[in-house]
Each structure stands twice: as structure tokens, then as C-alpha cells.
């Protein structure tokens, strides 16, 4: 019984996405069955649209920079959390979680007011700052449970063996936490690549991919949206797979290092 | 009071797919006793307990309580309660409400619930802890809460699943004494699962020693310790010396086993042994008497010359290993009153033991 339900649940999640993917390859502009043949024309149209190409590029830039910023700030927060005594720790985890407990509407509106008052023009920079703010809580939540298992005595042991503070971090802490940090960075990238609710408040003249799709959605129902969506999904999946491969490779290297047989190449 | 056993297990079996967890279990549990299911991990003792509790269904056989079949009865309707290994206390309730949980599920009037819970809290000596949250009490106290939460329902059988495994040594010894006291006060029948022989020997009225899904020996702690019926039983409960030999005669009350350095005589009952069998003579180290060779007395059966290989003082005891001429090693123990060591490593000694401490067991294949 429960098994059947679980399958139904998965089907509910997957069905709409499969439909979108299917119609992205539809030869006719109609978004209904019967299916009238396969074609890549929508992808070609999309590629010919300079607005799409620049939006896609902008999204990659924004997501890359935002995920790097998030990873640096977030890793520091996670490392701080295991060092602080309970009260400051609670305060820090509260403030670093709060931004996602509120609808993006609040964050977007208040950033809009802030940037305007400070006289900052809306551009990709403001989008990057907003995305970093949005991704940071997710990053910290994703990383903190793993970091909680990190044994601070390992750093002390390294210091005892003559490492400087920085060496202890670079040679002990960072390698141990790297897989977790990479995982968090990828999550941030995907979140930023997809963010729209806050973006509509802080975006300038240079559009991001979701903003471009939103403008298409507002205007008409066109299969171009399907094609753009499929590209967005494929891109996100590629990034995730890349991350998975990196993590898998890392785990394998660690394992073989433990067993004592070096990896060839 | 009827004369039948409280719980009867009749040729009970349990299989998980291809894996046979329990085979042909026959066991009577008597009213008011502490019956221990003892065995190594994976021997089926926990499965057997879960079948009695109702969390697992037997694949075959019968389970009777007071003579009536219990198999179809779900756990919530069995007059049986359980103390879990990791206590499984409810973290959202305090000590008092944890203990009251079962009574409230039975819709007992609240005044009676509170009355009974208070009495139970006194019995397990948790008075000052009644209002504490589960996160605020120690392991030993959690153990008492788990015990009280089960006992307050006045079960006919209380099942205890390795209840002391998570406690450290000192508290474990204290809790053993407490379990005994509480059992004597309430008179509840206990079924106690453990892999710890010491707990089993201290606590039990009877021990059911289990291995590979079977009951190997069912007997009192003394019988099982001094008269094991198998090499498994002998080895599982404490340290033991094993000397291989051949049965040369089986008399009315004596068995003679010959080995290369002499003859061993046992006055214990023989089971499934015939003359000519290769057997193991099993003797506990504390039953072996050793004297320095200079003061040697008569030789004869159960008396051997030996060379001391090692002597290790352990506080008030002396633990020594001696080698018989054919190379068989025999460990023995002696009490020690002061720092003096009566034996030198390498010296000759004479070792002997009485007939009644020797168990003659079929050699394992």
C-alpha cells in the first residue's frame, strides 16, 4: 500500500517535468497531444535570440560568483558555530537562518529600498548580493550537521605536531570538510541559477535566465519556454552530476589512500 | 494457582526468508521466576523475546499464556511488557508521564493512575526525579524509569532486553541488585535477555543457554556452570580447561578418561558418551589445586605433575598456567592474601582436582 503511494508521489513530482521536456521537442507549436513529430526548432530559435544567450550567460556568472561568496561566508559560519559557546552560537544560527523563514517578497522589497537609499544602481552586482543572502542559510543548514561531527581536537593535534594555525586549517580542516563544502557550493549554484522572486526586485537592465523565462511567460504561451526550461534543467543536472563525480572521485581517492594503493594517473 | 507453567513455548520456530532464527524451541516459564535467555549475539534470544512480546510472529509452533494461545494477540493486548535495551523513553514526556503512559492508554481514572505511578516511583526510588525531563536524567535513572514504565502495568511477564548493556560497570552491578530486589517485591515473572554470563549467573532462577537458534541447555546457574552439557556451554560461561582423552570405562557413578599422562575420573552423569569415544574432560580453573613439587603427596587419578609456564598476580588472585608433560596447558587460580607469590615460573608443581568437578563432554566436530 505504502509502496504504491510512494510511487504515486514520485509520479506526481516527475510528470509535469516530463511533459515539459517532451513538448520542448515537439515539431508543432501546439502544446497538446497528439504528438506531431520531433524537432529541435525551438532550441534553434532560442539560440538565435540574443536576449536568451545573454540572460543565460548572466545567470551563469551570477550563480558562480554567488556560490563562491556563499561558500566562503558559509564555511566560516559553520566553523564558527562549532567554536562558539551556546549563547552566541544560538544567536548566530538564528540570524543565519532567518532570511529563508521569510517570503522572498520581504527580502526583495527591503533590498530594493536599501539599494535605492544608498544610490546603488541595480545591476548584476545587486543580484549577486541578493542571491548570496538567499543561498547562505541553505548552505549553512546543509553544512552544519556534517561540521558538527568535526573533531576540533584534530586541529589541536596538528598544532601540537608543529603546524601553524593556517597550516592546520589548510592541511587538516579543509581537506576533511571539502566534500561537504563542495556539496553546499553546488546547492547554492543551483538555488541561485533558479532564483526569481527576490531577483525581480533587484535585477537591473541585464536579465537573468529565470527573468527572461518570466517575461516570455507573461507575454504568450510559446514552446520556446519549454526549450528554455529544458536547457535550464539540463544545465542544473549537469552541474549536479559534475559535483557527484567530483565527490565520488574524492571518496575513491580517500579510500584507496587509506588502503595504501595510490590511484593511477 | 494452577500448576501449569505461566508461559509455554511448544516447538516454536521462526525463519526470516531463508535464514532460520529459531528452531524447535520448547520452553516452560514458571510463575515468579527469573528466566534468562543467554547466548552470543545472533543466537536468536532477542527474536524469541520479540515473539513473546508480540512484535514478531512465529513461523511455526505454539505460544501459550496460562494455557491459552497468544499468537494471534497483538502486542498491545498481551499482558506482557518490555524494557528496551536503549530504554525507548518518550523524550516529549517527563518521568512521571512516561510511567503513566500505559495506564492512561488503558483509560484508567486519572486519580488511580497518579496513585499507582507514585507507588511505582517509590519502588524504583525515583522520588526526587519525578518531574525531570528524560534529557535531564542519567543512564541508571533512565533504566529505572523504563522498568517502572513497564511494571506499573502489572504485566504477567516482564521482558528485559539486555537492559544493562548501555550502563557502565559500577552502575550495572548496582542495578543487578536493584532488579533482584524489585523482582522479589513485586513477584513478577522476568524473562531476561543478555549475552553477559555474569549477569545471568547473578540474577537467574534458570538460564536457557542459546546458540544458533536453539536452546542448548536449560538449567539453574549452578548446574549450567559446574555441569555444562556441551563444549559450547562450558566455553560460554567463564574460563575452562579442556583436556582431550579417550573414555576407558563407564561405571555406575564414575567415568574414566585416559590421556597420555594419566587418568582423569569424573563422578558427573555421563550423557551420550560410550567407551572408546574421544572426549574432552572439562575442569574450571578455580577447581584446580596446585602444590609445589617438593611437598608432593600421593599420585593417582586426577593428579598430575606439571611445569609452571606463567604466573600472573591479579590483585587478590593468582592466575597461573601449567604444562602437563604432553604439552596440554592447564590454567588454575588461587586466592592471595599478600604480595607474596608462592610459585616461580618454570618450577615443577603438582596439580589435582576432585572427581565431581570434571565434566566429560563429547568432543566438538
Amino acid at each position: 500500500m505504502l509502496r504504491i503511494y510512494v510511487w504515486g508521489y514520485l509520479a506526481f513530482l516527475a510528470f509535469p517535468i516530463l511533459i515539459i521536456t517532451l513538448f520542448a521537442f515537439h515539431a508543432s507549436p501546439a502544446l497538446t497531444f497528439p504528438f506531431e513529430g520531433v524537432s529541435l526548432r525551438w532550441f534553434a530559435d532560442l539560440w538565435a535570440d540574443p536576449n536568451f544567450v545573454s540572460a543565460f550567460k548572466n545567470s551563469v556568472i551570477v550563480a558562480t560568483v554567488a556560490s563562491i561568496l556563499t561558500s566562503i561566508l558559509g564555511t566560516m559560519v559553520a566553523l564558527a558555530l562549532i567554536r562558539l559557546s551556546p549563547k552566541p552560537r544560538a544567536a548566530l544560527s538564528f540570524i543565519s537562518f532567518a532570511p529563508i523563514a521569510l517570503p522572498g517578497l520581504f527580502i526583495g522589497a527591503s533590498l530594493l529600498v536599501l539599494f535605492d537609499r544608498l544610490g546603488i544602481y541595480r545591476s548584476l552586482v545587486t543580484v549577486i548580493l541578493a542571491h548570496t543572502l538567499f543561498c547562505l542559510p541553505f548552505f549553512v543548514e546543509a553544512v552544519r550537521s556534517r561540521v558538527a561531527y568535526f573533531d576540533l581536537d584534530l586541529e589541536l593535534a596538528a598544532r601540537d605536531l608543529g603546524a601553524t594555525r593556517w597550516q592546520a586549517f589548510r592541511l587538516v580542516t579543509l581537506p576533511l570538510l571539502l566534500p561537504t563544502i563542495i556539496g553546499g557550493a553546488i546547492l547554492s549554484f543551483a538555488l541561485s541559477f533558479d532564483e526569481i522572486i527576490i531577483t525581480v526586485f533587484v535585477v537591473g537592465e541585464q536579465s537573468t535566465l529565470p527573468f527572461y523565462i518570466l517575461s516570455l511567460l507573461r507575454r504568450t504561451v510559446t514552446p520556446l519556454i519549454n526549450a528554455a526550461s529544458v536547457l535550464a534543467i539540463i544545465f542544473t543536472l549537469l552541474v549536479l552530476m559534475l559535483a557527484g563525480t567530483v565527490l565520488w572521485w574524492q571518496a575513491r581517492r580517500e579510500k584507496s589512500a587509506r588502503i595504501g594503493e595510490g590511484v593511477v594517473g | 494457582m494452577s500448576t501449569t507453567a505461566l508461559v509455554e513455548l511448544k516447538s516454536l520456530g521462526k525463519a526470516f526468508g531463508n535464514f532460520v532464527a529459531l528452531k524447535d524451541i520448547n520452553l516452560d516459564i514458571q510463575r515468579g521466576e527469573i528466566l534468562t535467555l543467554l547466548g552470543p549475539s545472533g543466537c536468536g534470544k532477542s527474536t524469541l523475546m520479540r515473539i513473546i512480546a508480540g512484535f514478531e510472529q512465529p513461523s511455526s509452533g505454539q505460544l501459550l499464556l496460562n494455557g491459552s494461545d497468544m499468537v494471534a494477540l497483538p502486542p498491545e493486548h498481551r499482558p506482557v511488557n518490555m524494557v528496551f535495551q536503549r530504554y525507548a523513553l518518550f523524550p516529549h514526556l517527563d518521568v512521571f508521564d512516561n510511567i503513566a503512559f500505559g495506564l492512561r492508554l488503558k483509560k484508567m481514572p486519572e486519580t488511580e493512575v497518579r496513585d499507582r505511578v507514585r507507588k511505582m516511583i517509590d519502588l524504583v526510588q525515583l522520588g526526587p526525579m519525578a518531574d525531570r525531563w528524560i534529557s535531564e536524567i542519567s543512564g541508571g535513572q533512565s533504566q529505572r524509569v523504563a522498568l517502572a514504565r513497564a511494571l506499573v502495568n502489572e504485566p504477567q511477564v516482564l521482558l528485559l532486553d539486555e537492559p544493562l548493556a548501555a550502563l557502565d560497570l559500577k552502575i550495572r552491578q548496582l542495578m543487578l541488585a536493584e532488579l533482584r530486589r524489585i523482582q522479589e517485591t513485586t513477584g513478577t515473572t522476568f524473562v531476561y535477555v543478555t549475552h553477559d554470563q555474569d549477569e545471568a549467573l547473578v540474577l537467574s532462577s534458570r538460564i536457557a543457554l542459546m546458540d544458533h537458534g536453539r536452546i542448548v541447555q536449560l538449567a539453574t546457574p549452578d548446574q549450567i556452570y559446574f555441569q555444562p552439557n556441551s563444549m559450547f556451554a562450558a566455553r560460554f560461561l567463564g574460563e575452562t580447561n579442556v583436556i582431550e582423552g579417550i573414555v576407558t570405562s563407564i561405571g555406575k557413578s564414575k567415568i574414566h578418561v585416559t590421556m597420555s599422562d594419566g587418568v582423569i575420573v569424573s563422578s558427573q552423569n555421563a550423557t551420550s558418551i560410550r567407551v572408546g569415544d574421544t572426549v574432552n574432560a572439562v575442569i574450571r580453573p578455580e577447581a584446580v589445586v596446585a602444590i609445589a613439587d617438593g611437598k608432593r603427596t600421593a599420585t593417582g587419578p586426577n593428579s598430575f605433575k606439571a611445569q609452571l609456564k606463567s604466573v600472573v598476580p591479579i590483585g587478590g588472585r593468582l592466575m597461573a598456567t601449567a604444562l602437563l608433560p604432553d604439552g596440554t596447558s592447564v590454567r588454575f587460580q588461587q586466592p592471595r592474601l599478600d604480595s607474596q607469590v608462592n610459585f616461580d615460573s618454570g618450577s615443577q608443581v603438582q596439580i589435582s582436582w576432585p572427581e565431581h568437578v570434571v565434566s566429560v563432554l563429547p568432543k566438538e566436530t
Binding site: 506526481f12 513530482l13 561566508l73 517578497l105 520581504f106 526586485f201 523565462i213 | 502486542p75 512521571f96 525531570r132
Partner: protein, 305 residues
Amino acid sequence: MEKLKAAFADRRERSGFLLAAPAFLFLVALFIVPSFLLFIASFWQFDNATIVPTFTLSNYLEALSRRAVLYSTLTALKIGFWSGLISTVLSFPVAWYIAFKTRSNVLLYLVLLSWFSSYLVRIFAWRTILGTQGIINSALMSAGLIDKPLEFLIFSPLAVIVTLVHIFVPFTLLLLLSALRNVTPDHLDACRDLGGTRFDILRKVVFPIAYKGIIGSFLFTFILSAGDFITPQLLGGRSGMTVGFMISNEFRVSGNWPAGAAMAILLLIVFLAASALTTRLFRLLRLAPGVRYHPLQNPASASRR
């Protein structure tokens, strides 16, 4: 020795503060300060398309007296309530299945994968499925079951709720799952052993222990759905006029921030009240942890929760 240990703890704490500083400053600059700014802006005045920083309550009075604000708030709360409830209820059995019935995490990964397919993509997907020319309507029409498209499928609260549920279900699954991991199989067995039925197990053991995740997943979805303005706008038709949409319009179209800010603050107050109410309700239904059901035995030494 004690002194040495204290010195170590002290240095550890200090390095903790140093590490936290950049993120803390970032959050102060981009979250705390802007939030206060939004609050302050709600008392400014909007005059002749310019913003005058004064102090006036007129934005609040205006917002509270407009029918459109009231109705759009009710619409938003209705959408939020049903999205929160349905996502939580839908995810609970799956979380249960993952927590107690299967050891593998494959299912979880599959669900998380769907999380990474964009928000807008899903809105568009449901528009394709539910639209008047959509898959469901055209299928029903070609099967001859209906003559003209079922209008209520699209541009209705139904379409909005279905889409929001689809968007938030992975979140609720994660929250519920991590909460259910606090319940051990032994807890379930212990409850049955003490005489509890399956329903008792759910109500008296699982809900109180997993309370945080259950409340969290409902409130999280409720607040984010009720505050959403893009899904209702694209799928809700006339019912898409949620308060979130009105607020975003004040900021992005008419430029009347003070009005938008006042409405946002009011909405925030409604959210806080709804959260408090939900928590309260769980306590009343005895589904919350940390409540005693007996008079204190040792009133002097008991600690509060």
C-alpha cells in the same frame, strides 16, 4: 590546569567570533538593516510620485481600510493554508516510508532531484497540463466526455495550490524526514507494548516527538506560499490577486513603497499570529512536547521547558 583549559576555550571562542564576523556583517548590512529600513519606510509618505521621509500612520490606515487588501490577504492565506496542509500531508507517508521502511536513500535523492527543476518551469508545466487548451482538457474533449474546456482547472486557486504543492513538497519531505529520524523503531514498539493502537502511536508518540518538523513543514510552506506573488499571478486568473502581488506592484510598478512596506509589515504580523496560533493549537491537542499532564511532584526543583 583549569586555567589553561579556560585559556584554550577563550581562544577558541575568540577565533569563533572572528570567523563569524564577515558573515555577520554581511547579514547585518543586507538583512537586518534593510528589514528595519522597510519598517521605517512604512511610515513615510508618498506624495506626487515622490517619497517623503516623515512619520505618518496613513499607510497603515489606508491598507486596513481597503477592501482589496482584505480580500487579497484572505486569498493569500487560503492559498497558503491549503498548500501547507496538502504538502505536509502528502509528504508524511513518504517520509515515514523512508525513515522506517527502507534503508536506502535513493528515493530521497530522486525527490531532491525534482527540487532542482526550476520554479518557473513547474509553473509553466502546470499551465500546459491544466490550461484551456491543455493536456487534461484536450484529452477529455477528444474522449467526448466534455464539450468545452473545464475552466476551473486553470486561472483558479486550484491551479495555484496544485503548483505550489508541487513546488514545496520536496522541502516538506526533507523537514519531516529529519524530524522522523528522532523517532526510533523502539519508540513505536514501546507504545504498542504499553497498549497503544496504531492511532495512539501516531498521536501520542510520533507527532509529539516529530512536532518541530511537522509544524515547521506546514508553516514554512504556508508562509512561502501565502507570500508568493508569481504563481498566483501566472496561474490564478482573477483569484491571482493576492496581497503579495499587490505589495510587489507597489514596489515595482507604482513606486509607492510606503504603502507596500506597510502592507508587508501587516502581512508579517498576520504570519506571526498564524504561527503562534498553530503552535497553540498543537499544544491544545496535546501534540506538542514539553507539557506535563500531572501536578508537580517536587515543585521546588522542577525545570521548565
